[in-house]
Each structure stands twice: as structure tokens, then as C-alpha cells.
């Protein structure tokens, strides 16, 4: 049987970084709601996890999905569907993210994928993009700016 850490330990270890992640994806006003939604989704799925590996990456993915759902809900100006329906534990299920970034320039999309789908740190992104880590950070933040400016809710 898999031994999972108490959920509170995950929040203690990663909550702060997840809030920053939510802020980057959804903006400062939505960030707390997005994070709460994400943590509730994570709680729903948590007892069903079959191993305790990559929990940080798992939480990042769920937060990313919650941010995308919030973004879509705002865009459609209708309430989000039953959040339980969109729980995801499956790393492959990232259609929502592709939806969100569709139509953006290729380079911007690629940068966002490296950071938020592959969940890479800036020094690794730098290697992939063949630039300095500082430049990688700037590219990610400018890609996020592009994404936010496009969002009609902003």
C-alpha cells in the first residue's frame, strides 16, 4: 500500500510556489480562487494516487488546469461546469492548455509549454532554448504577458 504524506505537508512544502504559479497564470485577483479550486481537486484525487512520486509536478498540473478552466469560464461568462468533472490525474490530459495558447506565436507557445506543461526550471529551459537562464525567465514572463493581454477578461 502506498504511503502518502499528509496533504498539509504538501501545502506547506509547495503552497507558496503554487500560489505564485496561479498568480502568473491567472493574475493576482484570481490567483487565490484558482489555487483553492486546484487544492480541492487535488484533495478529491489524492487518496486514489497509486504512488507518492512527483507530487509537486502533479500539483502544478492541477493548478495549471484550474487556471485554464477559470480562464475559459471568464471567457464564456458562464459558470464553470461541475469541477469534479474536470479532475485530472492524467499527465497527458492537457488539451485545455493547448486551447488556451492556441493562436499564439509558435515561440511563445513553445516557451509556455516548457515551463508549464513540462514543468521545467529556468536553467533547463535555458538549455532547451539555447539561451541564459535569465533570458529564459524573461521569455517565459513575456510569453505570459502575451497570453494575459489576449485574455478578454483583462
Amino acid at each position: 500500500m502506498v504511503v502518502l504524506p499528509p496533504f498539509s505537508a504538501l501545502i506547506e512544502a509547495h503552497g507558496d510556489a503554487l500560489l505564485t504559479h496561479a498568480r502568473r497564470l491567472a493574475g493576482p485577483e484570481q490567483a487565490e480562487d484558482v489555487l483553492q479550486d486546484a487544492l480541492l481537486r487535488a484533495l478529491r484525487a489524492y487518496p486514489r494516487l497509486r504512488h507518492a512520486d512527483h507530487l509537486r509536478a502533479w500539483l502544478y498540473r492541477i493548478t495549471t488546469n484550474a487556471a485554464m478552466d477559470a480562464h475559459r469560464a471568464r471567457r464564456r461568462e458562464v459558470p464553470a461546469a461541475d469541477p469534479a468533472a474536470s479532475i485530472t490525474v492524467d499527465p497527458e490530459q492537457l488539451d485545455g492548455f493547448e486551447d488556451l495558447i492556441t493562436g499564439l506565436p509558435d515561440g511563445v507557445r513553445a516557451t509556455l509549454r516548457l515551463r508549464f506543461v513540462d514543468d521545467l526550471e529556468y536553467d533547463v529551459i535555458a538549455i532547451r532554448l539555447d539561451c541564459s537562464p535569465e533570458a529564459a525567465r524573461q521569455r517565459v514572463s513575456s510569453a505570459l504577458r502575451t497570453l494575459r493581454q489576449r485574455s478578454p477578461a483583462r
Binding site: P6, F7, S8, I11, G15, Q36, L43, Y46
Partner: protein, 197 residues
């Protein structure tokens, strides 16, 4: 790394309870006998940890017994915190009377011992290990009654500090003998010492 702001943790815990997504909640209770870690399941308190017990070890036991969805919930548990605090500070008269759940006690005999202790041995009273064993149905099991007390997951709420050895003295206590004395003094089972602590 800094923790999430308390209002976020409180909101998450409230929502999780509403949706039935929490296996257990915990909070910290500062008191004259040190800061206690109090963990509550759906039916009441399942675990009380003294200050020197590491949080991760206490919570690991809770995860094993109740499940991994354990959340810090200061606001949800405010009633428990205030009741315990008032009791330990001596401003609350009468019994502690907090709901508890012996889910983390697996042995039936130990469970019976703790139930009897919580139900029959009131504030200000004490009992000997042998008498407690007898009331639990096995007069020869004084030692097992002692083990039940020594492994009591819910000290204070289930008052194992009220059980004394027949040889005299206050005997052992999971939280240390000085705490046992302090609790018995608070409850009037021992005369308070004249020198301030």
C-alpha cells in the same frame, strides 16, 4: 519558502469539510502545559500530541488510521481550541467534555480501558491501574491497563493522567510526570503546591 496565508488555509479547510474531502483536521493549542497538537476526525478528537512529539510523526499516525487528507484548520477547530485552553488555564469549571474518537486504538481491550476512563473517572478523581483493569473486565490485567494508558492517543481528553500506580506516587505519564502532577493539581486531585512554578 513561506506558508500560505492563514485565511487561505481556513477557506480551504472549510470548503473541504463541506465537500467531505477531509479525513482529519488539526490545529495547535497553546496552554500552560505547552503547545498541544490537536487532530480531529469526523466524529471528534482522534489525537493529541504534546509539544515534544514531532508533527510529522503525529500526522503520519493519523494518515495511517484515517487517510492522507489531513489539513490545518485553525478556524474550523476554534471551539475545540478555546475549550481546551480554558480548561487547562483553569477558567473552565467542570468536565472537559470534548467529543473524541478512539479510531487510532486498535486493541479492543485498550479501547475498553480508555472508554471506561473517559466515561467513569471524572475531574478531581483518580483510579489505580488494577481497579481500571477490573472495571474493563479483567482484574489481572493491571499491566495491560497501564499499556492502554501509556499508548493513549488522546491524552488530557481521555484522562490517563488520572490513573495512578498502587505502589504510590503519580507514576509514569506519556507527557512526563511533571505534566501529570500539573494536571492533577489543576483538577484538584492533588493539593496545589505553594511555591509558584
Amino acid at each position: 519558502m513561506s506558508p500560505l496565508p492563514p485565511h487561505l488555509l481556513d477557506a480551504l479547510a472549510a470548503e473541504a469539510v463541506r465537500d467531505g474531502l477531509a479525513d482529519a483536521l488539526y490545529t495547535y493549542v497553546p496552554s500552560p502545559i505547552g503547545t498541544l497538537l490537536v487532530v480531529s476526525g469526523a466524529n471528534g478528537i482522534v489525537r493529541v500530541g504534546f509539544e515534544e512529539e514531532p508533527e510529522d510523526r503525529v500526522l503520519a499516525g493519523v494518515v495511517a488510521g484515517l487517510g492522507p487528507r489531513v489539513l490545518r484548520a485553525d478556524r474550523e477547530l476554534i471551539g475545540v481550541r478555546e475549550t481546551l485552553q480554558a480548561y487547562l488555564e483553569g477558567t473552565r469549571e467542570g468536565e472537559l467534555d470534548l467529543p473524541f474518537d478512539l479510531q487510532l486504538v486498535h486493541s479492543p481491550f485498550r479501547r475498553t480501558v480508555l472508554e471506561i476512563l473517559a466515561g467513569d473517572v471524572h475531574r478531581g478523581d483518580v483510579i489505580r491501574y488494577g481497579e481500571l483493569a477490573a472495571r474493563a473486565g479483567n482484574p489481572k490485567a493491571a499491566r495491560a491497563a497501564g499499556t492502554a494508558c501509556a499508548t493513549n492517543p488522546i491524552p488530557i481528553v481521555v484522562p490517563c493522567h488520572r490513573v495512578l500506580p498502587s505502589a504510590g506516587g503519580v507514576g509514569n505519564y506519556g507527557g512526563g510526570a511533571p505534566r501529570k502532577v500539573q494536571l492533577l493539581e489543576l483538577e484538584g486531585a492533588l493539593p496545589p503546591r505553594l511555591t509558584p512554578r
